[in-house]
Symmetry: C2
Subunit: 192 residues, 2 copies
Amino acid sequence: MSQALQPATETTDPRILRSRRMLMDSLATLLKTREFEDISVHEITDEAKLNRATFYLHYPDKSALLLAMTEVRFRELIERRGISFTDCDRALDAIVLGVCDYLIEVTGCPVKGALIPLEGSIIPVVEGMFREGLSRHGAAGGVDSELLATTVAWAIFGGARRWFQTPNRVAAEEMAGKIAAMVKPVFLNGNQ
Amino acid sequence: MSQALQPATETTDPRILRSRRMLMDSLATLLKTREFEDISVHEITDEAKLNRATFYLHYPDKSALLLAMTEVRFRELIERRGISFTDCDRALDAIVLGVCDYLIEVTGCPVKGALIPLEGSIIPVVEGMFREGLSRHGAAGGVDSELLATTVAWAIFGGARRWFQTPNRVAAEEMAGKIAAMVKPVFLNGNQ
DNA sequence: ATGCGAAATAGACAAATGTCGATTCTAGAA
DNA sequence: TTCTAGAATCGACATTTGTCTATTTCGCAT
């Protein structure tokens, strides 16, 4: 019934942690060979050396695993770079670049035609970062800062996604700069 | 293999047209009772009085049908309102309102928790409209107008989607105004 | 009206999905 | 160390999915 609430469950049980880590690692490995749609739950648990039933103990379906995996890995990538909001412009640039880089990181080198449903996992994370940034600085006058965060997050993901799907794309840094510049006025204008 | 190219096939054969229309209508009907994930291809063809194999003659899977259906219906809704680009501001407002209204139209009254993967069908249509508008007017100086169209389309959809998922939401017109105002500066800024 | 090509149907198939009950194993507390 | 809750395994199940090979039906041009 798509009640994907398990992954949010806080737990310290090493067995649970291990199983979930194994499943995520397994999916990450398989994603470098096949496309998401062509990977079965059986293959994932096989690679992870787990029973297939164990999979369903943690995730309602493979999309939920992808979502959980992406969230963890994208967060890691972002935190590895330690984005701070002391300089908002810099933070924006870093976040956009992070999205671009992650798209490459997660789906190996070959340009796949498939449009993996990553928006469900990346966008909320980006959104959260903007919410945090907005609550600290420029908490926008008349504008709903929640809506602002959502809108900008989608805009960035959409732009990055287009770039990623482009056959012979320019460098991630270049594209990130363009997207950031394009999106910036939304923040500025919001304050008056 | 997700080679969903059939729907793009131009045809005049009444049998093909009829089958596709039946399938779309059937899905639209079922969507008012169940969530997308809980509807099987068998149920769709059953409701449409067609053989299950016929389904696969037209669409590779049910997501492709949803995509095709959404594209057709969303385009209809937009064209029913006859958006023109004589006044860009007005066009932007109308497009945003169209997205908000369509989200309601497609998924009945009850607020479903499910996030139907509509972005794949609505966003490209919105994107196309902006591309058209940009090619006529303000074809942006230094900015890539393709990227601009994509980015804005995602921003709008993301905003509308957030609004749609909000428990007790404000009127579509009000939200559409807020989103349009938020997004507008992206266009203006692009020209210098 | 007749025949051709293509669309629709029918039935079958292997594989994948999501769920279940029963059993075994294990982390952490007593 | 022993005990226990619950995590993992196992085998099985009904459904669903996507694909096939006939076979039948139908639109349309001749």
